[in-house]
């Protein structure tokens, strides 16, 4: 892992909402091709941390080095540009509800990257086929199940060929029988070598698919190590308690 490229390096990241300190100094590094799960109790700052990484939340202090550039200090167009290189998948899917599936997928590559509509459609159909939804290109989001929406949301991010994908509890809003189909897509993605940072409550995914797991609790990193080690030998009492509750 050491000789891999550092995609995101986070140094002493802090985030306050007014007086509430949500992140109290987070430091970690994400390497190329790495799949990292972030687990921890609710309110521990997992989502805030993830949202800071693509500046949906502006960090209060600290550094986030994306490919060597500190993105905490950039503004305007540079932020848009940086987000174009990171995919983000939300808990609530957030497909554009005024567009059909095809336009959800092609809007960004066509308008931002200047891809031709036909090339974008070809690419969209190819990716849709990979997630088993090639026949739903004309559907509107309201006509899809949660699992289908989330698979399409993943494809929407992939359309921009991101260097890293951020997942914010991608299966938490799904009915139990649909969780599997989304996790399968994420697993395929991990195997294809995509760099992924996943905030999740799916301990099996964290344990089996991700190479490393970070336990985030009370705004600080409790433990940060290879997944199998973290799950089989949890050290801190907080992590032991947490794992006992969720496993």
């Amino acid at each position: 892992m050491e000789n891999k490229r550092e995609i995101l390096k986070v140094v002493d990241l802090q985030k306050k909402f007014h007086k509430l300190e949500v992140l109290k100094g987070i430091s970690t590094t994400f390497h190329e091709n790495e799949v990292v799960s972030i687990i921890g109790p609710s309110g521990g700052g997992k989502s805030t941390f993830l949202r800071c990484l693509n500046l949906l939340e502006q960090p209060t202090s600290g550094q986030i080095l994306f490919d060597g550039t500190d993105i905490c200090t950039i503004k305007g167009k540079a932020i848009d540009h940086c987000r174009q290189r990171m995919g983000m998948v939300f808990q609530q899917f957030n497909l554009f509800s005024n567009m059909d599936v095809m336009h959800n997928l092609t809007a960004a590559p066509v308008r931002i990257k200047g891809m031709s509509q036909s090339d974008a459609q070809e690419k969209a159909l190819e990716l849709l086929a990979k997630v088993g939804l090639a026949d739903r290109a004309d559907a509107y989001p309201s006509q899809l199940s949660g699992g289908q929406k989330q698979r399409i949301a993943i494809v929407r991010s992939l359309m921009m060929d991101p260097e890293v994908m951020l997942f914010d509890e991608p299966t938490s809003a799904l009915d139990p029988e649909m969780i599997g189909e989304v996790l399968d897509v994420m697993k395929d993605l991990a195997e294809s070598g995509m760099t992924m940072i996943v905030v999740t409550h799916e301990m099996r995914f964290a344990r089996e698919v991700s190479s490393r797991t970070i336990f985030l609790d009370g705004g600080v990193i409790g433990e940060d190590k290879p997944s199998h080690e973290l799950f089989s030998h949890p050290e801190s009492p907080r992590l032991v308690t947490f794992l006992n509750k969720v496993l």
Binding site: D80, R83, M86, S97, N98, A108, S157
Partner: protein
Amino acid sequence: MAFLETMAKLIERYNSFFTEGIVNTLIIAAFSVLFGAILGTLMASLRMCRIPPLRWIAVAYIEFVRGTPLMVQLMFIFYGLPMIGITIPNIPWIPNFSRFAAGIVAMSMNSCAYVAEIIRSGIQAVDGGQMEAARSVGFSSGEAMRLVVLPQAIRNILPALGNEFVTVIKESSIVSVIGIADLMFRTNDVIAVTYKNLECLAVAALCYFVLTFVSGRAVSLAERKLSHGK
């Protein structure tokens, strides 16, 4: 029966009064709706802009206008402002220009506040996740607004905006107090001549109802067209 006959007779005999009233009512309403919509859109963007002082000005304006009677606003503009030297000049080839202008200014400024609130609430009713998702794929906030948020907001805004337009037609009856010969004003004229209060007012009510009903239908037709056209 006699009542309806009297109404019919009134309409037949004073039809030029009522027609002129209706035309003037429509002129006032049409311009007020037009300017109200334009100013309201500007006011809404001011209300939601990133610079706090501009936002405060918009909030103060909207709250004040919505919290005071249109009658007071109208009289303030037509009778009040000339006292400090602010008058609307008369244009010779448009009869009664200064009255009409005062009426239209007051009604548009009033309607603008309501339109601004309709637009703002329509935009803010769109789920925040839509904006975030659009930003996360790399759209600027302007693009995200134009491509994702506004098309969804329009669906919230149109019905309420349609209502507002219909309301303006009814509310415009108030301009009769500054001497604009609208439907209400001409109705009073006919009452003064015939002493048939009840029948005259019934005719006026009927006219207003036809105006609002027809424009209400037109608005909902336009709504359906617009929400299908995507």
